[in-house]
């Protein structure tokens, strides 16, 4: 057994070192493409919902989000919750959001007829500390028109891009987005049947629907216009100190029984169900495509080894004739197959992590609801490399076995 392995290695090494360089490069190139097919195709597919959840965490929920219970209008007994998290270790930044339904109207002064419908849309006005919000969600980085609102600006407003027809062409019988509004225009914000007038300072486009369908006011201005007596937030987003686990922090809230006062969720838990469903579906699709990739890879290796073995059938016969065991010959072919698969995969890994992943991180694929990234965790790719190598062992062994099992004399004489 050991001698057969040793001779198998010896023959494989000699074959590989003296094979045509062009053929070797071509086979390795094919294996590299096969590996990339296994990882990149699936990575982009899974990266789409993954990018979407990343966007959700980074631009809206933070690492942890506390929101009002379904039955309440706001987070009840907020001071109790605030007292608790103020003393909690691991919280880096906090943004409290105060929400109120509103209607945003543009071009209200230009109406020509009494029957003409206003260029308006229903929305939610959010009062925030703009600096605190920016620390949690980097909202200022997603301004696509105009500028980020200032906390002291009492005459300005910032809106989500999905309220504008040019970003989100919604025009259904019951709902439509604003068609004619640009930065600097005056808008009317109707809250509790009272009209307030602001200048549009900026438009934010984060690709998170919760963010992009809101109107933002500085907190002091919001307090002035909302008319709320019991001034309590509906959402509190937390950014944690790196290294702290959101689920651990959440558990601390639970230990104090605070989950009875508000919904306490990690970013992952707070994501809309459709995002989770898309993620699951794409993951299944990705695995399906990956499975096809493995089959294609196996067939590729099978063909390479089979053609190699068939064209060298006579020499396999000679090896057997001079006393080389079938096992040694099979091992030599398996080693060659593994060499091709391993080299191709390692080159594929280098291309993946030194080129593709950084490229897609810098230039995400622009989808309407996400920044599509190439999702390729290292150990996931490593396991695919393992699967590819394992399948190449099988795909190398089977054709070698077929040829080796032929009668020695028939192989030598080419019968």
């Amino acid at each position: 057994m050991f001698t057969s392995i040793k001779v198998g290695f010896y023959l494989a090494l000699k074959d590989l070192s003296r094979a045509s360089k062009l053929t070797t490069l071509l086979i390795i190139f094919i294996m590299t493409l096969t590996f990339l097919n296994l990882t990149v195709g699936r990575g982009i597919l899974v990266g789409l919902p993954k990018g979407s959840t990343n966007v959700y965490d980074e631009r809206y929920s933070g690492d942890l989000i506390i929101s009002k219970l379904r039955k309440d209008q706001f987070v009840v007994d907020f001071p109790k919750i605030e007292n608790f998290y103020s003393s909690l270790e691991g919280i880096q930044f906090i943004s409290k959001r105060y929400l109120h339904p509103a209607t945003l109207t543009a071009g209200y002064e230009q109406r020509l007829r009494e029957t003409e419908v206003y260029d308006a849309t229903g929305t939610v006005v959010v009062g925030i500390d703009l600096q605190a919000e920016d620390k949690v969600t980097n909202l200022s980085k997603h301004i696509v028109e105009g500028e980020y609102l200032d906390n002291k600006d009492t005459r300005g407003v910032m809106i989500g891009a999905n309220l504008l027809f040019r970003y989100s062409p919604l025009d259904s019988p019951t709902e439509s987005n604003i068609k004619n509004l640009k930065v600097g225009d005056k808008v009317k914000l109707t809250i509790n049947d009272k009209d307030y007038f602001y200048f549009l300072r900026g438009v934010v486009k984060s690709k998170v629907s919760e963010v992009d369908r809101r109107v933002y006011l500085p907190i002091d201005e919001y307090k002035r216009v909302s008319g709320e007596k019991d001034f309590k937030p509906e959402e509190i987003s937390f950014k944690l100190v790196p290294g702290f686990v959101p689920a651990d922090i959440k558990n601390k809230f639970y230990e104090q029984g605070l989950h009875k006062l508000a919904k306490i969720q990690t970013a992952e838990e707070s994501q809309p169900q459709f995002l989770k469903d898309i993620g699951t579906t794409f993951d299944i699709l990705g695995n399906f495509l990956g499975g096809i990739g493995i089959v294609v890879a196996s067939v590729t290796v099978f063909i390479v080894v089979f053609v190699n073995a068939i064209t060298r059938r006579k020499y396999i016969g000679i090896l057997k004739a001079i006393g080389i065991t079938s096992l040694a010959i099979e091992i030599s072919y398996i080693i060659q197959a593994v060499f091709y698969a391993l080299t191709g995969s390692i080159i594929g890994m280098l291309i993946l992590y030194l080129s593709f992943v950084p490229y897609f991180a810098q230039n995400p694929i622009n989808f309407p609801f996400a920044d599509g990234i190439l999702y390729a965790p290292f150990f996931d790719s490593l396991s695919r490399l393992g699967v590819l190598v394992f399948s190449s062992v099988l795909s190398g062994f089977i054709p070698a076995r077929i040829v080796v099992n032929q009668k020695t004399l028939d192989a030598i004489l080419g019968r």
């Binding site: 001779v7 006393g323 065991t325």
Partner: protein, 224 residues
């Protein structure tokens, strides 16, 4: 000593049956040089392949040193060939990706020699047949005669009980053929049992005895 008893080899193709070896019985002494001659299709190569355990007879027996090797299992046949038999083929049958030295050393590696020991022995075998300057040449860099001599070196490197040669001079010019045959004569003089198939009566004459076949039957068994 080789004992062949009632050896029959038939080839069947559909309804046609061809008897390549018809009830052959003979003996070959240890250290003997036996030449097998005959026309094309006489069954001489078929006989050699069976004696060399590369093919199975349809019936009959082959005993080598009183061991019945007729129906050994595939793995045992391979092992037996490695330890006891050597082959020289008409077309040299060298492995194209191995140098002369590597071609000669492979059977030694299979017998458990280390690479350095195998190469040491391989060099000696190549020196013996006058190829000391061609250790690192691939078969494609050697002439026909040189390739055949590498093939001989590979066949004898394991010091086999029997050396089989199937028309070893068929692809060589007369001068090179003589060199190859001289190698066989020298080996035989040192006690090597050789069974050689040839269609040249002149070459067959260098053996101790000649077995002549015609249509699968022994027509003559003469002492040279």
């Amino acid at each position: 000593m080789i004992i062949v008893k009632n050896l029959v080899k038939k080839f069947t193709n559909g309804e046609t049956t061809l008897v390549a070896n018809n009830n052959l019985s003979f003996e070959v002494e240890t250290g003997e040089f036996l030449s097998i001659i005959g026309r094309s299709g006489s069954g001489k190569s078929t006989l050699l392949y069976q004696l060399g355990l590369l093919d199975h007879p349809t019936s009959g027996k082959i005993l080598i040193d009183n061991v019945d090797v007729t129906n050994l299992y595939a793995d045992r046949r391979t092992e037996y060939r490695l330890n006891n038999l050597g082959y020289v083929f008409q077309d040299y049958a060298l492995l194209p990706t191995l140098t002369s030295l590597e071609n000669v050393s492979v059977p030694l590696l299979m017998r458990g020699f280390s690479i350095s020991d195998a190469y040491k022995k391989g060099r000696k075998a190549l020196d013996k047949i006058g190829l000391s300057k061609k250790y690192d040449n691939l078969p494609s860099m050697l002439s026909g005669g040189e390739q055949q001599r590498v093939s001989i070196a590979r066949a004898i490197v394991n010091e086999p009980k029997i050396l089989f040669a199937d028309e070893p001079t068929a692809n060589l010019d007369s001068e090179t053929s003589k060199l190859v045959l001289d190698s066989f004569t020298e080996l035989n003089q040192n006690g090597q049992t050789i069974i050689m198939v040839t269609h040249e009566k002149e070459y067959a004459a260098i053996g101790d005895r000649t077995l002549e076949l015609k249509d699968g039957n022994i027509v003559r068994f003469t002492k040279n």
